[in-house]
Structures are given as structure tokens and as C-alpha cells.
């Protein structure tokens, strides 16, 4: 009897709190569009009953939710560090969320943030292989009448065009692959004979892919080799040869999909056990989708006596060229020490600056895409491209 009573009291209490919670969130969500109406300027949806004459909000009115696809990604963490600094500088309230590489999780976080009074979404979407997740996030923003900025991981044009207060800040996914291919070709044409260890006229290489089904991984894997081959052909050289002719896919992928160094180390150790200069079939070049995998491959190469950097007499010793993407600090250090060849710079600070420029537009009451003439904007869609750069030390 006591137990039953207790249970019903508890249940009543829970329902009560749930209702109170609903009431609370209800009132904040109705407040959210009101405060966002001003930043979204006159284009605020009719559903929000905001008075049109609201003056531009003070800095503290902007409540930004920043949704990262995962906190464990090194490059994204450097974007996060930069974003935190810029947003603090701007004096806006913001909160970071870790999607933990789980799209369902991230959508829940977005919906919770909206009910919690968040009036600007900055989203690094998890799922990139279909536009549905980004569309869902965009629709949630539209319904709430608040602007949404996607960044880093590409979303479809249709998604961005489906809502006037939606923009994308990112890189051109294919560009990193193209630039990597060009960087590799330039390096090879300058050092062809030194790289071609067995003098068979073709450079044998291994490609480490970060993840299956990720647009950036696909483009980098494809274009790094295609573009390099094109330039090699123009110079009258043979195309790159994947080290293992029996592998039709021509890449080795991290099976956990985490772009991890450890996967590259294990693969590279396995390769080095079978391919060596003594056998006259040494892998002559390493291409990786990101710097983490490049560094993992270098760890294995170093154990085999390669890529140990400059010695006391400033000699480089045995060296296999290794290329990555991201230009994280540790990779740049390796390039300077002569342990790695080159990387493509993803400009974390530039990314954060561009996003913050849009945020400050909203903060000052301007439209989302105002004052963006200095940026590289796509035609016909609100997508800003932060350029990559080549880093070779």
C-alpha cells in the first residue's frame, strides 16, 4: 500500500515537472523567435508574433548554439578553439555541443537547444552522405524562425536554398584532393628519380582513406591520384601505380571510419613486412586523407628506418614522401623536421573568422549574408568557401 502510494506520488510529481518543463520551454520557444526576429530582419516568418519595430538587440540577446560533429576530431577541435575565442570577443552567449559522431544525437541536441531559447544555430552536420539530416536541422530552424549556419561538412544546395536564413561556410570538398594531387605531382616531377627507388619508371604508392561514404574522403582519395596522374602524363611520365596490383579499390580504409593514425600504422607495418627495397618492390610514396593517418604511416616507416628526419650532419637518410591534409601543428612540425613531405592546409582560423563574420552580421541586425563580398561565395546559393592552402614547410 505504502509502495503504491509512493509510486503514485512520484508519478504525479514527474508529470508535474514534465508539465512545468513544457510550460517553461513553451514560453522560451515563443520568446526565441521574438528575439530572433530582429537579427533575421524583416524576413522573420509570419508565425512569430514579434513586433516589427523591435530595435536591434543588444549583444547579449544572441544565444548561439554551436554543434560540432565530434569533439575528438583534431581539426574540428582547432576550429572550436578559434570559435570560442572569436565568439567571446564578440560578446555573445554561446554553448558548444558534441554530436559524438551520431546524427540522431545531434538532432536531439538541436531541438533541445531551440526549446532552450537558442536563437542562432551553427551546425557542423554529422551525416553528409544524404541531405536528409541537414534538411531536418534546417526545417527545425525554419519552424522556430531562427537563422542556421552550417559549416565544415558539406550540405546540399537545396538545403541551403530551402530557407532564406540558412548559409554554409566550408571548403570545396573536392579542392583538397585537387590541391593534394597537384602538390604530389610537383614534388614528383622535381624528385622523380630519387623517389623511384627501383627505377622501374613508375611510382608505387599507398592511399589511406579515412572513412567510407564521406564526401571529403571520397574526393581526396579520387582526385589526389587522378590529378597527379594527369600532370605526370603531361610531363611524359607513367601514372602512379598502387603498390598492390591485386587490390582493385586502390586504397586502404580505416575500418572504424575514424580517420585514425592507428589504422594507418597497422596497415603500413603490414605493407613494410612484405614490400621493401631488398625485395625491390618498396612502396615509394604514401598519400593519406588526413594528417593523422599520414603521421600513423610515418610511425611505421620510422620503425623500419625511414623518415627519421635530419641527423646531426643535416642529412635526411632514407625517405619515403608522405602527404596529408589538414596541416595540424604536429604535421607541420614533422614537415619542418624532414619527416613528412607536405600537407594541405585547412584554415581553422579562417573558418572561424568567416562564421563569426556571419554571426556578427546577425548581432548588429544586418542580414545573414550581408558584407560577404570579400569572401568566396558560390553563385546562386549562400555557400562561402574558405580556401585551402598548400603547406610544404
Amino acid at each position: 500500500m505504502m509502495k503504491k502510494l509512493l509510486a503514485s506520488i512520484l508519478a504525479a510529481a514527474m508529470i508535474g515537472t514534465a508539465l512545468a518543463g513544457c510550460g517553461g520551454s513553451g514560453s522560451t520557444s515563443s520568446a526565441a523567435p521574438a528575439s530572433s526576429a530582429a537579427p533575421a530582419s524583416s524576413e522573420a516568418p509570419a508565425a512569430s508574433s514579434a513586433p516589427a519595430e523591435t530595435p536591434a538587440p543588444a549583444a547579449s540577446d544572441l544565444n548561439v548554439g554551436v554543434f560540432y560533429y565530434t569533439f575528438s576530431d583534431v581539426y574540428i577541435t582547432s576550429v572550436r578553439t578559434n570559435m570560442d575565442a572569436k565568439l567571446n570577443e564578440l560578446g555573445v552567449t554561446f554553448q558548444n555541443y558534441d554530436g559524438n559522431n551520431n546524427q540522431a544525437n545531434q538532432l536531439d541536441q538541436i531541438n533541445t537547444a531551440i526549446t532552450n531559447g537558442c536563437n542562432l544555430l551553427v551546425v557542423n552536420i554529422v551525416e553528409t552522405s544524404s541531405p536528409d539530416a541537414a534538411q531536418t536541422a534546417c526545417d527545425a530552424a525554419k519552424t522556430a524562425g531562427i537563422p542556421i549556419i552550417f559549416f565544415n561538412r558539406e550540405v546540399a544546395d537545396d538545403v541551403v536554398n530551402s530557407y532564406e536564413n540558412c548559409a554554409f561556410v566550408g571548403t570545396d570538398a573536392a579542392e583538397a584532393g585537387h590541391m593534394q594531387g597537384q602538390m604530389i605531382a610537383e614534388y614528383l616531377l622535381a624528385n622523380y628519380d630519387a623517389v623511384d627507388l627501383n627505377k622501374d619508371g613508375a611510382i608505387s604508392y599507398v592511399m589511406f582513406k579515412g572513412q567510407e561514404g564521406n564526401a571529403e574522403a571520397e574526393y581526396r582519395t579520387q582526385f589526389a591520384v587522378e590529378d597527379c596522374d594527369k600532370l605526370l602524363a603531361e610531363a611524359g611520365k607513367e601514372p602512379l601505380a598502387f603498390y598492390n596490383a591485386g587490390n582493385a579499390s586502390k586504397y586502404l580504409v580505416d575500418q572504424t571510419g575514424a580517420w585514425s593514425s592507428q589504422a594507418a600504422t597497422d596497415y603500413m607495418n603490414t605493407i613494410l613486412a612484405e614490400y621493401s627495397e631488398a625485395n625491390n618492390n618498396m612502396v615509394e610514396m604514401v598519400i593519406a586523407n588526413n594528417d593523422g593517418m599520414a603521421e600513423g604511416a610515418i610511425a611505421a616507416l620510422q620503425a623500419a628506418g625511414y623518415n627519421n628526419g635530419y641527423d646531426e650532419e643535416n642529412n635526411i637518410g632514407k625517405f619515403i614522401p608522405v602527404f596529408g591534409v589538414d596541416a595540424v601543428d604536429s604535421a607541420k612540425e614533422k614537415i619542418q623536421n624532414g619527416q613528412m613531405t607536405g600537407t594541405i592546409m585547412q584554415d581553422a582560423e579562417g573558418m572561424a573568422n568567416t562564421i563569426t563574420a556571419l554571426v556578427s552580421n546577425l548581432n548588429s541586425g544586418a542580414a545573414l549574408m550581408d558584407n560577404t563580398s570579400s569572401f568566396n561565395v558560390d553563385a546562386g546559393v549562400a555557400k562561402i568557401r574558405v580556401p585551402y592552402g598548400v603547406y610544404t614547410g
Partner: protein, 349 residues
Amino acid sequence: MSNNPGKAIAKQPWDAKRVGNLLLNNALFILMFIAIIYIAIRNPNFIKPASLINIIAQTAAYLPVALGVAGCIVLTGTDLSAGRIVGLTACVSASLLQAVGGANKMWPNIGTLPIPVVILIAILIGAAFGAFNGFFVAKFKLHPFIVTLGTQLIVYTLLLLYVKMGNNNGMAISGLDDSYKTFITGSLFSIAGTPIPNYIWIAVFLTALMWFIWNKTTFGKNMFALGANEEAARVSGVNVIMTTIMVFALAGAMYSITGFIEGARVASNTANTGFNYELDAIAACVIGGVSFVGGIGKIRGIVIGVLLLRLIFIGLNMIGINQDLQYLIKGGIILFACALDMRKYLVKK
């Protein structure tokens, strides 16, 4: 429940049923043998010394986690926090052993610590989290699945916070001191021109140590008694709480040694390091006959389980099989091995 089901039929004649049983009971070894022969025919490089040493080296790198988690499985539990503990201890070890003067040194003011000190710090961290797991399991009678699910998340937060500390800002921790790299990936001697990396010796030592602990100490016998039947163990005077805490702490110490090894072996440590290591380790244990029924398992089996998983990874790579199929093969072997394992006990009932 005997540890050796073979004994019961030792005096039977060699009829078809017995041969069949013998084949089934050793099916895993037979399959492994067939696989090795098949791969070696497709690619003769597979059984050359350099390749064999690579297989052993990769087995050695993943072995300590499996040796640790096996103890938890013997107690009818599991440990999901293994991977994150590996990650945390790898990052801590690497950050304390970065080369002096590197531009990205995480703690520029502490120089490079002596290796034994760092090993000790890593082991203490791992053992502390292990003991924490064990305490919740023993004291509050929570299933280890739940406890370690919680701990795994807690450790992940510490890991995320740690990589943002000092000068690091969430970057990969690399630029390691030569003494550290030499200690792990250097070698004392070579066989057929291929150096034997030092971490193989660490794994050999740990295997011997764990064999001794499991088979020759009171603690080991208590662990098996507790895993087989908690009530019986309690009645016969086993300190259940202490034993459980010790088993998990020992497991944590094992993870931290893998963390210490991975820190230098992979040499690029991020919050992602160690992710999912527990899954391979648990798979290796069950393949090797460490049963979720509890109280059953052999060190020999664990070594074979880890070896088999590495054979699949390396072998399928060397014969260039479609990578999409690798998960299927791995999953099939896990199911097959466990079904075989359970069959031994079901027959007796």
C-alpha cells in the same frame, strides 16, 4: 564445472563420434591452419619472416588489453572502458615524453620524464579507473556492463579535457622523445634482417605474468572460484569485494600498458586513440574460449584469439580481399567460435 571437458571422455574408444567431437572442439585451430595455408598459397610473402614478425608484433600490441579484459569476463562481466583508458594513458604517456624543444610540446616546463616514472604514472591511472569500476561492481552489485559504460564516458571527458590542456589545444600529441620511441619500437636484435620491436617482449612478459597470476596465485584461484559460482566462493571464504576490485584494477593496469605502447607505436595521439579497442579485445577473448558463462578461460586461448583476429586483418589485406567483406568474416568467426564454445557445456547438461 571442470576446466577440462576433454577428461570426461578420455577412456572412450576412438569411434566416429569421438573423432567428430575432437574435430569440433579444435575446429578453430583447424580453420586457422587452413586459412594460413590458403593465404600463403595465394601470397607466399605471408609466411616470410618479415610478415610473421609483423603478425606477432601486431598481436603483441593488442594483447595486453585482451589479457586485462579477460579477467573481467571470467567474473561473468565485461569492460567497455578499456578503449578510453588506453586513449587516456596513451595521451598522458606521450605528453610526458615529448622531446625537449619541440614546438608543440604540451608541458614545456617539465622536460622529458624518465620512462619508468611515466610507466608507473600510466599504470596508476589505469589501475585507479579499474579499481573504480571494480568498486561499483562489487559494492553496489551493478553489472559491469553498466558500470564500465558509465566509466567509459567519464574517461572520455577526461581525455577530451586533457588533450586541450597545456600548449596542446586539442592537437595530436606527437614529437616524442627518442628514448621513448626506442624503448617501444626499437629492437634488441633482428631475425632474418627484420628487427624485433621491443613491445613484443613487453607482451611476452605480461603474458607470462598473467599466466602466473591466473594459475599459481591464491588471487587467481579466487577469481575463477568467484566467476564460476559467487555464492560458493563467498561461503568458502573468498573476499568477494576485494577480489572483484583487484581483477578490475589489474585489467586497468593492463590497458594502461597498451596505452603506453600505443603512445609510441602510433606516435600520434588524439582523443580518438584507443577508440573501440575493447571490442576487438572482448572478441579475441570469446574466440579464445574465455566464456561469458564465467569461471572459464585460459591465457593460451586469449593469445590465440588475438592472434586469429590479427591474422584475419593482415591475411585478408595481403590477398587483397574486398574490405567490405572483412567485417562479415570477423563476425562469422566470433559467432562460430562462441557457438562451439557453448556446445561443449550444453552437451554435458
